[in-house]
Amino acid sequence: MSLTTTRRPGDRVFSGLARGAGLLILVALAGVAAFLTVEALPAFTAPPEALAGAADLLAYVAPLAFGTLLAALLALLVATPLALGVALVVSHYAPRPVARVVGAAIDLLAAIPSVVYGLWGLAFLGVRLTPVYAWLSDHLGWLPLFAGPASSTGRTILTAALVLAVMVLPIITAITREIFAQTPVLHQEAALALGATRWEMIRLAVLPHARSGIVSAVMLGLGRALGETMAVAMVLSASGVVTLDLVGATNPSTIAANIALTFPDSTGLSVNALLASGLALFVITLAVNVAARLVVARSQRSTR
């Protein structure tokens, strides 16, 4: 939208710089994929010694991918209803001053570094959940989820998922509360004028308006939960098995946690194997994020 007719040299230089910076971002994003791929290639032919005993790369990454998905989905299962509740409190239930304080508190939750979450999950949450896990495996042991025997340290995939839930909660809350607050006031007042209770108004006016926003918020939370590293690496006592038992002493590891735990002491081809698993994580999170953003973009276009 340049309003000048003659382009001066200064303009040309400056717009070139700006365009170059934009291009650099594209190059960086492509570079992440390219560099990871190049460094991951040798791992495809790596012998089992470099892959922690797995026969090939797929057998190496698959259990990790399983653990990653399991932890992330559990986290979302816990975080989504809570986040929607908190978002509703901020946008529709709490009086304005309370809502502001609550919003700031939840933002603070997002600002806390993941390593501190790991510390807290390991030294505080896990220890306190141990009796709960023992109870679960005693009374609900017939469910494969709580088969046990229960971990005595609390360093289970369920603890890791709960910590992850705390970490993705502010993300989902932040996005959904914005969208809840953007619900057209006329729709809400119309519902109330027809005699709807507050919940009926939310169900009839707010939730339908926010549906795609909720979906994309949950997917962005999923992206975060999939890639979260330190909290899982510290909390989980991982042994690389594939199991649905959530409270036992042997747990599946996640891609990110496995990289963080083994990378500092790895050499040679095992580094390439780790980079290959990182590439897998990158592709998974990229797909989730692209899908989430596409949902957002489509909903924005349709509401305009």
């Binding site: 001066r8 409190v89 603070l108 949450l125 780790l274």
Partner: protein, 365 residues
């Protein structure tokens, strides 16, 4: 439909409604004291049950909330009908969700402050861990490392992010290229931090060979995470600059680049600074990429371009997972460092928001 049938229908309607009493305008409502009374009753009975069975405070609280969430809708259903009962149930659930969400925040803050406050003193902040076994030592090397790595990351990412934002707002203005870039920046915010670390490692390996560890790699990884945040916040701030200002400048014959530099940027500067501070606060606590490419060491290292460099988050991690012998000192130091890190992050957040509010009030937004 003929007029006649219409009339008979209206007449029939009239006939039916004529003898009845007037419709009630209100509905029966629970009195205002009902909710507090039911709440108090739930709390008392939960406490009694809990004390009898020897439960913890957490168990008693959960039971009290559950009792309340059952009793209040039940009373409401009897007095006010099912719709109001559902409304009350949802209200209780929504507020309980908030309560549950705040538990970790409170518990985490209390734990970190409680376990960390005794450790932080002048020596803790000014000594490194070089040749320290057992008691003593500090996090000076980690603080300096975090400072240098984050500063370098900001130096790398702010120019790129700001210029990209200028491109998006001032030059590309809604073109296809701008939409693609904007979309990819959004996608880039979702890159896991560990992948950014691997990327930095993969880049450095090409130049320095296998097993490379240096502070600059950490900066590179952090800037991959920072750039999208900076672009987003700068873009938002640039869009807030009124168009009148730009047009006034053009009308005076000022070229576009000078308009951007002398008019648009100064107007948006406070907001941009706020955005950059928030971005720094976001990456200063990143652990995974630094663990991978900046490494971990006990000594002070001020050279970004060679050797391992300790940073605060990595210090917390390694001090807790490898506390040495006896373990208690290492664990204590981890909590102390966690407290320092949280204080830094919160201070950055608060400062940035204060600045933002101050500026927005001055310009009357």
């Amino acid at each position: 439909m003929s007029t006649e049938t219409l009339l008979t229908r209206v007449g029939r309607l009239d006939d039916r409604s004529a003898p009845t009493r007037p419709l009630p305008l209100g509905r029966p409502r629970l009195p205002g004291w009902a909710a507090p009374v039911i709440g108090a009753t739930s709390a008392v009975s939960a406490t009694a049950t809990g004390l009898l069975l020897g439960w913890s405070t957490a168990g008693i609280t959960v039971l009290a909330v559950l009792l309340f969430a059952v009793a209040l809708p039940l009373a409401s259903r009897l007095a006010e009908g099912p719709r109001a009962a559902r409304d009350r149930l949802v209200t209780v659930l929504v507020w309980s969700a908030l309560g549950v969400a705040l538990v970790p925040l409170v518990s985490l803050t209390v734990t970190v402050v409680h376990d960390g406050i005794g450790v932080v003193d002048a020596q803790f902040l000014t000594y490194s861990m070089r040749n320290v076994v057992g008691e003593g030592g500090g996090i000076y090397h980690a603080i300096m490392g975090t400072l240098l790595v984050t500063l370098a990351a900001a130096l790398l990412s702010v120019p790129v992010g700001l210029l990209s934002a200028i491109y998006l707002v001032e030059y590309a203005g809604g073109s296809r290229a701008a939409r693609v870039l904007s979309f990819l920046v959004d996608v880039m915010t979702g890159i896991p931090s560990i992948v950014a670390g691997l990327f930095a490692y993969a880049v450095l390996v090409l130049f320095f060979g296998e097993g490379v560890r240096m502070g600059l790699g950490g900066s590179l990884a952090l800037s991959v995470l920072m750039v999208p945040i900076v672009v987003r916040s700068c873009e938002e701030m640039l869009r807030l600059v009124p168009h009148d200002l730009r047009e006034a400048s053009y009308a005076l014959g000022v070229p576009q680049w000078r308009t951007v530099l002398k008019v648009v940027l100064p107007t948006a500067l406070p907001g941009i600074i706020t955005g950059v501070m928030l971005a720094v606060a976001r990456v200063v606590g990143e652990t995974a990429p630094l663990l991978i490419v900046a490494g971990s060491t006990d000594s002070l290292n001020l050279d970004l371009f060679s050797e391992r460099m300790m940073t605060l988050p990595v210090f917390i991690y390694s001090s807790f997972t490898q506390p040495g012998v006896p373990a208690e000192y290492g664990v204590d130091r981890a909590w102390g460092a966690a407290l320092v890190l949280i204080v830094i992050v919160v201070a950055l957040n608060v400062l940035a928001r204060l600045l933002g509010r101050l500026v927005s009030r001055r310009s009357g937004r």
